[in-house]
């Protein structure tokens, strides 16, 4: 994605910046409060970042806009509150929540990395993901992620690993579990059948007795009653297992529906001017919602009641099974030992041939499973190794860049973040973040510009600054930096325009007056293009 334009505004005041080029862009001014941060934050906010605007800006009053070029397609984004509208080739899509937008982003723009958090596979948040290429001015902290919310630095590392190798944490854990369970079952069955087989072979006398006693009436009765209990137990077990299966499915369904349901209730676009919710999508196709609150509530309630019914039923089956098992034990105890032997071994003796075949069949399946599990394991091992190697290279390069810029023998950098109590600040902080962004960009090809708000804060010397600029240029991709100059630097024309450097001067903007009525007409045009008619 290449940033083509960014803007913020409503019908009364607005600002749009569209002078970006596909090289190194430096937005600079001779003083603070010219609106550089607002502009950068607007662009990021419009694509789903959590806001870190200056406190003086009431974000509820404005629309935030950006236009990117992505794979030769122009895509425009317009955000108001938690709603984001996306316009591509004249088609406007509406996302009422950031979650919905995230799903769109994942499908249409860039597949967001997935990793396992708290035992569950999740998709990275846009805010976390953007930190791979974006550095805001505020809330920086080299020892953890910025504005992390539910995410911490180990999540960031897991996310990077997933970016290095999408298969790394995307391994289908469910499937491996199924395979492992099946292997256990097979081993048990094979064991049981083998014992029966060997029993028949090793006990020819019993085997003969069995064959003779099959027709004995007394024996038959005893045997039948045991068989009956056994088959009852197995019938109950089957029922219980199926109900358990259904219960799991319902529980999954309900959490799935609940999350969909939540999305439905929040996020409405409001007119920034009058607060009215009556904003008309003038060429939309009107349809009813697929369901309404009452229907959804009722469905969730019936699923809940089915879940509790199933839990009760499963408990019933379990009681029944243990009752029958006790009965079986009691029966077995009352039957003479040799008869018990015969009954137990009857299966084995009568079905010797079948058992043989069955074992062969089970062994075949077992082998296949073993192979697949071994493959999986090898794959996991290789993937882990590859990912860890690349991660080590990223950190290695970070150290190298840091040492190079700061002209130190050896930096104290040990990882993507500093230790908890070792927060870098001032120029060290700048160089740390620089090293991290450049190193990540070098090793992971991300189709996003590098954006650093305030890239030389904290007394970074001109010499170091020039080195950083050169490295940014070496990346051969769009880079957007902002910078506040001292008056002396400003008058010396610090960033001369060149083929690879696009300086954008904000000094002429009046302090705290980024938003101007003169941009309104253009901004209204943008709103109209999104089919928004404010009234």
């Amino acid at each position: 994605m290449i940033l083509l334009a960014a803007g913020i505004g409503n019908l009364e005041e607005a600002f749009i910046e569209d002078r970006f080029t596909n090289d190194l862009n430096i937005i600079y001014s001779n003083d603070n409060n010219k609106g550089k941060t607002i502009l950068i934050q607007s662009a990021m906010y419009s694509i789903g970042n959590s806001p870190i605007f200056p406190a003086s800006l009431d974000i509820r009053r404005y629309f935030f806009y950006s236009k990117f070029s992505h794979n030769d397609r122009d895509i425009e984004f317009l955000r108001s509150g938690n709603s984001i509208l996306v316009r591509e080739q004249g088609v406007v899509s509406v996302f009422d929540t950031i979650t919905d937008f995230k799903i769109y982003f994942n499908e249409e723009i860039f597949q967001l990395p997935r990793f396992v958090k708290d035992g569950r596979p999740i998709m990275a948040d846009t805010s976390l993901f953007f930190q791979t290429f974006f550095l805001p001015q505020d809330k920086r902290n080299t020892s953890t992620v910025i504005n992390g919310g539910q995410f911490n630095k180990s999540d960031f590392v897991l996310m990077l690993k997933a970016l290095i190798d999408p298969n790394f944490s995307n391994l289908d854990i469910g499937e491996v579990d199924v395979l492992k369970n099946r292997r256990k079952e097979l081993l048990q069955q094979i064991g049981l059948l083998s014992r029966r087989l060997s029993f028949a072979k090793e006990n020819p006398v019993v085997a003969r007795q069995v064959l003779q006693s099959v027709n004995n009436v007394n024996f038959q009765e005893q045997s039948d009653s045991l068989q009956k209990i056994n088959s009852e137990i197995s019938a109950y077990s089957t029922k219980r297992n199926r109900e358990t299966n259904r219960l799991y499915k319902l529980q999954t369904l309900i959490s799935e529906l609940n999350s969909l349901n939540r999305n439905i209730e929040i996020g409405k676009i409001k007119c920034a001017d009058c607060g009215s919710e009556k904003i008309v999508y003038s060429n939309g196709e009107f349809t009813f919602e697929v369901s309404n609150d009452i229907v959804r509530r009722e469905v969730i309630a019936s699923i809940r009641s089915q879940i509790s019914n199933k839990i009760a039923a499963i408990a019933e089956y379990n009681n029944e099974i243990s009752r029958l098992q006790i009965e079986l034990q009691a029966r077995l105890a009352s039957i003479p030992a040799e008869v018990t032997d015969i009954i137990i071994s009857r299966e084995a003796v009568l079905n010797e041939r079948d058992n043989d075949l069955k074992i062969a069949e089970l062994n075949n399946e077992l082998q296949l499973i073993e192979q697949r599990l071994a493959q999986q394991e090898l794959f996991e091992k290789q993937s882990t190794q590859r990912v860890n190697e690349t991660l080590a290279e990223i950190v290695g390069d970070m150290k190298r860049y840091y040492a190079e810029i700061d002209e130190v023998e050896n930096s104290s950098i040990e990882g993507l973040f500093t230790k908890h109590n070792e927060n870098f600040s001032g120029s060290e902080e700048q160089i740390f973040y620089f090293s991290k962004l450049v190193s990540i960009s070098k090793h992971i090809q991300l189709p996003f510009p590098i954006i650093v708000d305030c890239f030389r804060d904290g007394e970074v010397s001109t010499d170091k600054e020039l080195k950083m600029i050169r490295e940014y240029q070496n990346l051969k991709k769009q880079v957007i930096l902002t910078s506040t100059l001292k008056s002396q630097e400003y008058s010396s024309d610090k960033y001369p325009k060149s083929n690879t450097l696009n300086p954008i001067d904000y000094s002429q903007i009046q302090s705290n007056k980024l938003l101007q009525p003169s941009f309104c007409a253009e901004f209204e045009k943008i709103l109209k293009a999104f089919n928004l008619e404010l009234h």
């Binding site: 199926r242 259904r246 009813f288 697929v290 089915q306």
Partner: protein, 341 residues
């Protein structure tokens, strides 16, 4: 030729009243089966029509607490103006909240012609209409040819609104177990229809010129009977998705010969798929397309089997709802069919 004027935007109470008039056309009138769609805020507040716009049921709705005969006459103005055009306004209906009993001969009637008004009221009504027409056209009342006005008044149906949201919705279709639903359920549907109606109102067509009645369809300012029926069926099927444990008769062939427990699994999977579809708000246009097609075919011929219905739905429509696999699609159609029988 027809020039659209006097479209209006109004408040919730008035919207309620216009929804009642729409439901009157679709659910109460004896000739309701001939009305395929209701145009919103085009010719009048609402106007019923067949699907090719060759016959129109024009409704002026006035939800005022009280109306004097003079005011009633004034309310008739748009109907009268429509009557004067060459568009096929077959039925002209003034939909009122109340008419005081002193003005009418038989106060028990809820639908009546001009003759039910007392003689004095009839005169006032006529006077009100003439006055309003003259005012609008900047002429004198005496310049209006009275024979036209008289034949107009003879053809107007005066209808008193039965302001019962629940009954009005229930009237729309027959559906199994419909009556076990609480009042909220029907009121919510009423509100949804009202919401759609006011959405349609916000598209402005004022001063557009139509050459033929069917040109009005171009503005898409209408709700079809099929949409309303689909809405109701969808809500009725939706609300009992998990609480209805029966297997619809038309689904039985698909589970014949299967083990009982397998059937239960299959049905749970189908219901879960339908739930996901009904909770997914990102695909509503496609879901409605599918549902409307299903219901259209079923309404046309209730003897159609599930496979025949599936066969008639365009492949693209079926593919548009990826949350429904082929079995769940058949299960949903069977449920709908079961409910409608």
């Amino acid at each position: 030729m027809y020039k659209i004027k006097n479209t209006e935007r109004n408040n919730e109470k008035a919207s309620d009243f216009e929804t009642f008039s729409m439901l009157y056309l679709l659910g109460i009138r004896s000739d309701r089966d001939q009305i395929d769609l209701v145009l919103v805020d085009c010719f009048n507040d609402v106007t019923g029509s067949d699907d090719v716009v060759s016959r129109l049921w024009d409704v002026q709705s006035k939800g005022h607490k009280s109306n004097t005969p003079l005011q009633i006459g004034e309310h008739l103005i748009t109907l009268y103006e429509n009557f004067l055009t060459d568009f096929p306004f077959e039925h002209l209906i003034l939909f009122l909240e109340t008419v005081a009993s002193i003005h009418v001969r038989d106060a028990s009637l809820v639908i009546f012609g001009i003759s039910n008004f007392t003689g004095e009221s009839q005169e006032k009504i006529k006077e009100g209409l003439l006055r309003e027409f003259a005012r609008r056209n900047s002429i004198l009342p005496s310049e209006i040819p009275t024979d036209k006005v008289n034949s107009f008044l003879e053809s107007v149906d005066f209808v008193l609104c039965t302001k019962d949201k629940i009954k009005n919705i229930k009237n729309l279709i027959e559906f199994k177990n419909k009556d076990v639903r609480g009042d909220d359920f029907f009121i919510e549907i009423f509100n949804e229809i009202r919401g759609m109606q006011s959405n349609l109102k916000s598209t402005n067509v004022e001063y557009s010129v139509l050459n033929a009645p069917s040109d009005i369809l171009f503005f898409r300012k209408y709700i079809t009977r099929n949409q309303i029926v689909t809405l109701l069926v969808n809500r009725l099927v939706g609300i009992e998705l998990f609480s209805n444990h029966g297997i619809p008769i038309d689904f039985i062939p698909y589970v014949e010969g299967m083990d009982r427990e397998d059937v239960r699994d299959l049905i749970q999977n189908c219901v879960a798929a339908i739930c996901r579809t009904f909770f997914d708000k990102n695909n509503k246009v496609n879901v409605w397309r599918f549902l409307e097609a299903t219901i259209k075919f079923l309404m046309k011929d209730s003897t159609l089997g599930v496979e025949e219905i599936v066969g008639q739905i365009p492949e693209q429509t079926l593919r548009g709802v990826p949350t429904l696999d082929s079995t769940s699609t058949r299960f949903l159609i069977a449920r709908i069919k079961d409910g409608l029988q």
